[in-house]
Amino acid sequence: MAMKTTEAGAGRRSSVGESEARLFEFARPPDEMRLDSGETLGPITLSYETYGELNAERSNAILVTHALSGDAHAAGYHRGEKAPGWWDDMIGPGKGLDTERYFVVCSNVIGGCKGSTGPASVDPRTGRPFALGFPSVTIRDMVEAQRHLVDHLGVERLLSVVGGSMGGMQVLQWMVSYPERIRSAIPIATALKHAPQQIAFDEVGRQAIMADANWREGDYYGRAPPARGLAVARMVGHITYMSDASMAEKFGRQQQQPAQERPDAGAPTKKFGADFEVEGYLRYRGDNFVKRFDANSYLYITKAMDRFDLLSSRKLSEVFRGLRARVMVIAFKSDWLYPTYQSQEIVRACKLAGVEASFCEVNSTYGHDAFLLEVEEESHLLRHFLGGIRG
């Protein structure tokens, strides 16, 4: 949806420039972190990046939480890399999350594989990767780890916590776990809990990984990883992130160019090779994902999302009781993976608890990916909403 903006910052779409990840270690024995499961984990490393400057009052910090396949590298360029961080469109000078005003922080979740402690990390007790010896983690555990990082950065109260999809779940968890530590919250394209359909898609992805002979009950480090299984899981994921309309626009039924055939495609695959561009696209995306993501992390993180349930046995009106932060809930029209009704339920829970909440359903055809793509509308909402947050 095209939108005119006349704010001063809108024209300057420059980047934060070069960014680099930093490491924060905490929960060193004997102060291991106690997880929701009852197990303890420590020491824990969090990989994180920051953009902008923390002001003297430490009042301008915004925590960005990433989605399933995201990481701490939300903006800017790592040395020697051509592609910027996953939310580079939204984070930067003059952008929706204006780094000239705010100190933006993003960290990789625990259970992840991009610098933070996860199943691929070495277990100090054995000297070998945790693999499935890594304890189950929940969204609440992820937030607890982030809270340690925020403490470490010396921030009493975050100006805001913002994220989409699984990032949105973390935002909701912050609203429940640490309501006094945030002045505002922006949960985007998310839900109070996964519906059966969402769990079903995650399960298909997990089954694909576990069906791969190379998975070996998670014990594949140092050997060939379950690449085919993880690639298939990612293919399914990509379909759920798009919409019928966006796929039709992107691919139609265009025939694939022969040159794009996978290099290891032999005669048997010719019958069921990639005839259509969408097939080639999915194969390419799947194969690329495997290079940068750990299969076990995919299992742990999707399980954390499926188990997330802010309601549990409470009444809707109880969920955000006592929350004084201002909330902005954003949903996208064609997002069938996290449909609007789930955001409306979040709004309802806020209203019933007397929380000052705003809600907008952005008209988009991109599907769930919209939270990464509808930059203009999202920037407008974030910029103005954050501009109105007072200490």
Partner: protein, 174 residues
């Protein structure tokens, strides 16, 4: 205050600025939502015809239907909900029985276009047409108490409002 059908938020923004109210808006048009957010208002993107059931009884001091009542499909249930959610409700609407409107139909034989009813028949958001008298009658029928009323024409109208008011404003409660 809950402004139902708050449009671009002009009224709410003025109320926040001048009367220091705690304001919340409900609006169905996405573009209008962006304008409300730009004004720093709390606004929910929703259809007031279906969304009001979520608000608890008397959870607001005032619910406002400013020029909205005649634009919804079912004004009766919407007004009932507004009265339920707010301790008091403020309603404003264009008066169809203004003498200028009457003359246009009587003498011109055409549906009226007036300052408070500025739309052509083929391009109007107004679905329903009512007069000041209609509203008095309606309130009596529905046992709604009219606490205050104000009538606006070229200025403040005090005499013969059904004839001379272009817009009327009512403070009602149940």
């Amino acid at each position: 205050m809950l402004d139902l059908g708050c449009g671009n938020g002009d009224l709410l923004a003025a109320l926040v600025k001048e009367k220091r109210v705690r304001a919340q808006g409900v609006e169905i048009d996405e573009k209008a939502i962006y304008e409300c957010v730009a004004k720093g208002l709390n606004v929910v993107h929703q259809d007031i015809e279906t969304g009001l059931s979520e608000y608890l009884d008397k959870s607001f001091d005032y619910t406002i239907l400013a020029g909205t009542l005649q634009q919804v499909k079912k004004p009766d249930p919407v007004l009932q909900d507004a009265l339920r959610v707010g301790r008091k409700t403020i309603v404003s609407f264009p008066n169809f029985a203004h003498y200028s409107a009457r003359l246009q139909i009587l003498l011109g034989g055409k549906v009226p276009v007036t300052p408070s009813l500025p739309f052509e028949w083929y391009d109007t958001p107004n679905l329903h047409f009512l007069s000041v008298s209609n509203f008095f009658e309606y309130c009596e029928k529905r046992s709604i108490a009219i606490e205050r009323s104000a009538f606006l024409g070229r200025g403040r109208v005090r005499l013969l409002p059904n004839l001379r008011a272009e817009t009327s404003v009512f403070l009602i409660s149940r």
